[in-house]
Structure formats: C-alpha cells, structure tokens
C-alpha cells in the first residue's frame, strides 16, 4: 500500500487561549493541486506553517511521506518545499546565489545543485535573470524565485501560501500557470481566499473556517456549492411580483429597483423567463445569473458543519 503523501490527524493549535486550528484531519494520497480555502484568519496559514514545520502543533499528528514532522523534522522537511505568503528572499543576493543557498539548505548533494538550479530557473522562467539581485526584480519575478526555491530540491510536497497575493493580473495568470505545471508531477497545497484561483487550478479542495475543516472534496463537488440560485433581471415593464412567483421553479422574487428584480429559483428557469417576457411583453433588457460570493459559501459551509 502506498504511503500517504500528507496525513494530518486531529491537528489542533492554539497561540494563546483560543484554538486557531481545531481537530483537522485529512490525507492526501495523490499528486495534484489541493486548494486550501478559507477566509482571512480561518486557520489556513497556521495549518500550512504546521505542515511545513514552521510551527509546532499543540496537538495532533502530521506526517509527510510517512515521517512525523515533529519527531523527525529534518527528514520530513527534506520532502517539503514551502513558499510562505511573503516570499522568504534575501534581497541582497542574486537569483543564482539565493537558489544555490536554498538548495544547500535543503541538503541537496553538491553535484546535484547546479543541474537542479538550471532546471528550476528554466521551469520558472527566470534563467535570464540569474545574475540579477533579487531586490532589482519585479514582484512577479520575485514570486517566481520564491516558487523556484520551493521546488529546487524536487520535493514530494510543495506548499504555497497565497502565492498570487499582491501580484498584478498578468503576473497572477503567469504564476497560476506555473503552479499548475508544478502540480502535474507532485502534490501541491495551495492556500487562497480567492475563489476563481481555486477554480482555475485546483483538483481538490479543503475548506477551513474558524479553525475547522468544513469542506473536503473535489472541485466538482465544490462547484455544487457554487451552483447559482438567483437571477437578476432588468425589464422595461416589470410584471407584478406575484405573477413571477407563480412561474414554476421560482421560489421568491425581490425588487431591487423599479425595473430590476432578483428571482430566487430552485431549478433552471432562464429560458422560461425569456420566453414569458416575449410572450407578455415585459421588454426584457438584461438577465444574468448571480454568482455566490465566497463569503456566502464560507457562511453556508460553516453553518452546515460547525
């Protein structure tokens, strides 16, 4: 039987009185990208810091490739690459100097360092900046160097803590692409509070809220939570609310302004609304599905699981 890549068992941690993370348990057995979702202060970073050995948990057990990170931290950490929220860069070093230093810190064999350095630079698209000081790189490239340091030693598990935080849209796209690529041949845990990021790159999702694991499943399963259930329609001649509520499938209709209504429904009624509008000359001007906000989902999942 294959060893779990990551196994977290009843993980709890408190900084002072209150629990930052309470009884979290999950396992990761396959390669791919796991999105760790949660609102700010939910306990994502605490979980990741514990996972990477930056923090020692108050209770529970964390194993990486079957090695307990608290009992054998050095062995376990060899299997981890970590990019914290703020990339841990030495700005006075060049890209090569920094990555070489990171390779040595990860206890790579001296002969393996140079090939690994070239490979990771190519992979992260920073080869042409090898001799440049880190402080002279743009934010996006600094983040790429941060990612490079996390994977230079070819770890089994790579942990990215909000890797696109503070980047501009173009950089975000590039970094997501890079992470997706990294996730092809290893396990990546990605923490974020951006829903679109999760949808863009994650295969599997865990959601933490108020220190507890409130969701665990595939992207597909997660999307079910995101299934839209409201329409916003703008019409030149709005019908009475009662008439709309009489349409089968419509649960509730609220007026947003004189010409705009929010229709809560239980099954797909887009076509019905369009057809009725033509038929009854409501002069439909705009219709769109109102997406759930992540906060709504957090709230919903929290209510369900807490």
């Amino acid at each position: 039987m294959l060893e779990d890549i990551v196994k977290i068992n009843e993980l709890s941690h408190k900084y002072s009185k209150d629990w930052a993370v309470k009884d979290i348990s999950f396992e990761i057995k396959t390669h791919g990208i796991l999105g760790l979702l949660g609102s700010n202060g939910a306990g994502k970073s605490t979980t990741m810091n514990i996972l990477c050995g930056v923090l020692n948990q108050t209770k529970g057990e964390v194993t990486i490739g079957g090695i307990d990170i608290q009992k054998k931290p050095v062995e376990a950490k060899k299997k981890i690459g970590f990019l914290p929220q703020k990339a841990p860069l030495h700005l006075d070093l060049t890209v090569d100097e920094y990555l070489t230093h990171c390779a040595h810190l990860r206890r790579m064999k001296p002969l393996e360092v140079k090939p690994a350095l070239e490979k990771v630079k190519d992979r992260c698209g920073i080869a042409h900046y090898s001799k440049r000081l880190l402080r002279n790189l743009s934010g996006g490239y600094q983040q790429r160097v941060g990612i490079a340091q996390a994977i230079i030693h070819d770890p089994m598990l790579v942990v990215f803590d909000e890797p696109t935080n503070g980047l501009d849209p173009v950089q975000i796209v590039e970094v997501r692409k890079l992470i997706k690529e990294i996730g092809r041949d290893r396990t990546v845990i990605l923490s974020t509070h951006i829903l679109s990021e999760v949808q863009a790159i994650c295969d599997e999702i865990k959601m933490i809220e108020k220190g507890k694991l409130v969701f665990s499943g595939t992207l597909q399963e997660f999307n079910n939570y995101l299934e839209p259930d409201t329409l916003v329609v703008t019409m030149g001649a709005c019908p009475p609310i009662d008439e709309l509520e009489a349409i089968p499938g419509v649960i509730q209709v609220n007026s947003i302004d004189k010409n705009t209504l929010r229709i809560k429904y239980e099954k797909d009624i887009n076509e019905t609304i369009v057809e009725k509008s033509i038929e009854k000359r409501w002069r439909l001007k705009e219709i769109y599905v109102e997406k759930n906000s992540l906060d709504d989902i957090f709230a919903k999942l929290s209510q369900e699981n807490l």
């Binding site: 930056v54 860069l89 810190l105 990860r106 000081l133």
Partner: protein, 770 residues
Amino acid sequence: MKLIYRIARIELNTLFYSPIAWIVLIIFTLQTGNKFTDLMDLHRGMLDRGRSIDNLTSWFFSWPFGDHSLLQFVKSNLYLYIPLLTMGLISRELSSGSIKLLLSSPVNFFQMVLGKYSSMVVYSFILCSILGVFTLAGGYSIRSFDYMLVLSGITGLFLLICSYSAIGLFISSLTSYQMVAAIGTFAVIGLLNFIDNLWQEVPVINEIAYWLSMSGRTDQMISGLISSKGVLYFFIVILSFITLTILKLSLAKQSTSLGIKICSYVAVLMVAITLGYITSRPSVTIYFDASATKKQTITQDSQKIVAQLNDYPLKITSYVNIFSPLIESSGTPKHHNQNFRQLENYIRFLPQLEMDYVYFYDTIPGDPGEIYKDNPELSEKELAQKVATSFGIDFKDILSPSEIKKVVDLSKEDNHYIRQIEYNGKKTFLRMFFDLNHYPLQEEISSALKRLTVDPPNVAFVSGHGERTLAKNDLDYRSATIAGATERRSLINKGFDFTTVTLETDQLAHDVTILVIADPKQMYTQEEIRKVKQYIDSGGNMLIMAEPDNRANLDSIVSHLGIKFIPGQLRQENEDFSPDFILGKVPKDALMLSKSFSFKNHIEKRYSVSVPTAMALKNYDNSQFQVTPLVVTDKKTSNELKDTESDQFYKLTSFESSEQAAMPIILALNRRVGKKEQRIIVAGDADFMNNREWARRNVSSMNRRQFIPNLFRWLSNDEFPVNAEYPPGEDNQITISAIGSLWFHIFFQGIMPGLILVFGAVLLILRKRK
C-alpha cells in the same frame, strides 16, 4: 557542519553586501591606526629625548589604565561597533519573513543559530587580523617585541567580540526591529559591564553579579595573564546566549505558556551561573602568564614564600574601623569582592585563602576627622550608628571599643582599618594605606606573608644617651620605620619589627637582628661600649649613624670596626641649599647592597642620597672587614672645620684633591663570623633617614625610594623587604626612523583604510548594478 558553514557564508555575504560591515572596518582601522601612530610618535619622542622606557610593548599595546594603550583603546570602543553588526542577524529575517525559509528547511536550530553566529566569529577574526597588522608593525619597529603579550591581549579582545556578538545574536532574535535589537544589545553589554557595581552589599547576589560582570575580564588578558576562569567565562557567556537564542526560536515555534518560557530562560542562566561559579573556584583555576617579564605573576621570591603556606588554611581578617577614612573606598561590604580580586595574584598560588571582615568603631588618635567635626553633639556610639546606617551596615554587627579590644589590640595601629593574616596560629598585620592606592602591594603582602614563615628581623634602636628615636620629630625616624598606615614605604610595612633597647640595663638579646645606634648625644660607659663590642664580635648586624658634632661619642665603637670619623664637616657648593646640605654620590660599588633593578637604575641615573650635616669616614684598618663605600662626596664637596668661636668654616687641607672628590660618607662592612655573614653600616650622617629627609621632595634623592629599603635589605641578610621587582623588559628601543614613522602614518591613516574603502565601494557598486 557543512550546513553551518553554508549559513555562515550566506550571512557573511549579506553582511559584506551591505555598507555597514565596511564602514565599521574602515572606522575601526582608522581609529586604531590613528592611535597606533600617536603612540609611536609619543614613545619615539620620549626615547629621542633620552628617556629610557622598558616594556615598550606593554606601553604600546596593553597599559591597563584608561585608553592609553592600543588594545585598551580598542576594547573601550568595541561596544559601539558590534551591535550595529549583530542587529540584523535574526531580526532582519523575522521582519522580512525569510526566517520561514530556514524553519521549513531541514535545518535544526543549532545549525541555524551556530551558522549565523559563525559569521560574526569570522568578522571578529577579521577585526583581530587588523590588530594583527598593527602587531606586526609593532614587532617591526620595537626591539625584542613581546609578541606573546600582544597575542594574549588580542585573544582577549577576540573573545570579548565573540561574547558581544552572542549577546547581539540573542537580542536580535527577540525583535523584528533592527534598531531595537541594536539598542537592546548596547543596553545588555552596558549592564554586563556595570553589573559588578550592583548589589555588592548583598551576600551571594554580589558573587553572582561579580561573576556576571564583563569588566576586567579582557583587561587581565590584555595585561598578559590568561586564566582558565577568564577564558571559560567568555565561553560560558557565548554558549549561554547561543542557547538562549535557540531556546527563543524554538519556543516561538510552539505555543508555550509564559511560565514555561521564563522557567526555561532562568534554567539556562542558572546552569551558566553554576558553571561559572565552579570554573571560577581558585582551586580549579589554571593560569598562564604570556608576558615576557612575567609581570602578571608574583615574583619568584614571593612564590617561594607562598609555597610554604599551603599546608594550613590562610585567613585574612580585615578589621574595619567605620570611622576610618578608607572605609568609603575599600571597606564597606560592597568592596568585599573588589578586595578579594586585589589578591588574585596570590589566590592563584593560595587557593585556600579566605577573607573575613570584622567591623568596629573606636577613636582614631590624632587629628579628629571631618565626621567628628561635623557632628560635635553626638557621642561616639551615636556617631557610629549614624556612620553604620550611611554605609548600610547593621549596627548590631559592629563591635564597640571594648569588644574589639577583646578580639585584637589595634592601639599601636591607631585603630586604623587594618588586616591581619593568620596561618597555623601565627598572625601578622597587613596594613591599608592612606595613599592613592590604599591597598597593600606585592612587596608589602609578600613581606607580611614571609613573617609567617620566618622570624621577622628585629631592629633594635639603642636609647638612653640622647640618640635619635622612632618619634615624629624632624630629626627622628618614625617615617622610615614605624609609620604604618600613613607611610607605605615605612620599614614596618616591609616586614621589620622595631624595638628600643638601653645598653645600660638590657643585654643585647639574640633576637636583635639589627642594632641601630643613631647619633648619641652623650658618651657611653665603658660597660655599654663593651656590650656593643661584644655584640659586634659575636657577628651581629649594625647600623651606626653619627653626626659631626657628636662623633666623639661613637669614636671607640667605630674604631673597633677599623673606621675613623674624619674631623670636620662636609660642605657642598650649591645654589639652592646651605653648604651643609650634602647630596652624596652613590658609586656603582653600592650595588653590592642589593640586586634590585630599580636601585641599579637609580645609581645609573646618578640619583643622590641626601646627607645633611655629614662627615667623611676613613677606613684605616681593613684587615677584618671588607669595606664598600655606599655614599661618597663629589667634586663640589670639601671638608671644612668649624671655628666654634667665630662660627666660620675653614677648609681642611689634609686631603689630596683627588681624595676630596670621593670621600666616603656611608660605608658598608662585611665579614664572615662563623657560618654567618656579618653586615654593618657606618654612616657619617644620622639624617639621611630622618623624618625630614624622608619627606623631602625638592631634590632628586633616592633615600626613601631605594637607598633605605636596600640598605635594610642588606642588613637583614637579604630577607626583607621581599623582592617584588620584575626584570626590566628588553623591548626598550624603537628601531624605526622618523621617515619610517611617517610611512606608518601614511599607511595606517591613508593606505590601509583607503584600500578597504575602495574595495568595499567597488564591491557594493558592482553588486548594486546587478
């Protein structure tokens, strides 16, 4: 190990890719270079002006007072540099978040902290290497340079920098603000240098505070003395702060209660203090004196004495009169550690030495001190209570006059603050002094210790015929003999006992070591003269001092020795003094008195011995004694007779002019009597050791400093005073010329810091362009 090296290397890179490390190096080099060239100019100038300076290496590099010497100067500036270098070691990583790289890497805290610390060790080494350049320059320019002395000092500074660095490393781990780390490091270094002044009156705590103190630790090594406890102190400090740093980082990694955190830190400190206490015990301390002259070790003579005192406990009890003016500077409970430290050179050889204190109050005879004048309304007891309170001493612990008298009789010591050494039932006093130093020095301590191993020499002054006495009058001898606490050089402090005998009644007992007859005003009886002659014939040592006016009273005694007083009185041409004030020359033959280096030095520099109203001597029969002139006349001196009617002097013409140039005034006579060597001094003057000449400061005479101590050393058969002199260092010449000195200026104030500046600037500019 490799990982530690990698972390250290990256830390050094970071250090040298920022301007601060270069700025510190440049300032350090400039300041040190400036000091070195200043010292070079100063000493070259002094030598050029004809001054002789021994131990130039010490003067240049390790003179302990103030910032005079190079290494002391460096030491006093180091605390300014180190916090600037250490402030970022960990706090930079904490603020930038790069600490997570280390924490998530397969690196343990030990490797992480040691790696960072090692970078500072390398930087310390670079700083010390710069000092090495100055050492080589010193070696090049000073003859017989004492490399080991300087190496010891640089080692001390290296350990000090390493300790400062460890403190800085720990403080840096406490905060993410570099400036706070720098200020915190300043504060802790300041505290550790100052802590020996705190809580010194609280038992046990004072021991801990004293051990924790950094001040003086490096001084010892700069002076050339390396002790295991000094070196181990630095290692313990370094290891403690490294451990505290590891502890801080590991505790920050987990949620631990404040109580556990405090307990952990306290446990580390307790272990450190315990280790420090154990390693600083005298019985386990090992010493190495690196200096060429071995000046940091008591002399061979002193060592021979203390070697005889190791069989039983040795206890020094300080009897402290709380009315003594010395209590403020050296007698209160807060001085106990300091007092113990003063004796460290002895404790090195006498690890069993213990110190005890007995406080008392009693009237100090003579001029009442300010305390009495300021509080005329208070009784002595009330006054004592007031003084005790002001010094924080419990009045219950202070003995009253009647109580102290039951313990020890201090009446002869005028109830002064005094110490008593006790060994195997024998006791002797060791005085504190009313001079700038206050403390007894090696000559006094070793002489006192020697009194516990041999019978001290008993100097017996003959009285009964108007002789000079041990009183305070100008013409008497109190200062030179029994002045005690007020005169460090007084012979009583150098191991001698003084008594008075009368020839009329007393038999000259066997315990008289030196019989002194000084200027009797009346004739001795035949019986008395017989007693003296008998004493001489039995081989007793003597000092006979005669004045021209009363010479006849001693004629028969000196003629028994083959010596004759030449009629007349010596007169010397002098612009400043009356003609009867004679400055006698000391010929090189006088070196037979003693092997003292200072005595020899004084003779070579032609210091005189002042002999007012003196007469010349003649040795007419040298068959019995070997006779050596100690003080002779010079060419300006003539022998004249006084006409008692007119009170005028007229020149005697009975001597050849060549003889006039060197007529003996004081003679040393020695011969063998049985197994013993008999030593007798005959002086044609009784004033050279009187209170007036002792106090004289208006001529360059050596009476007090050299002549009298060495005279008595010879008379006591070289037993006392114990020789506490060190051979003069051979490093007494600067071999470089003015041009060479100029080159030093150019190199140390221009080229060397300039090269560092250029190198650093180029490196930083190239880096910045990347």
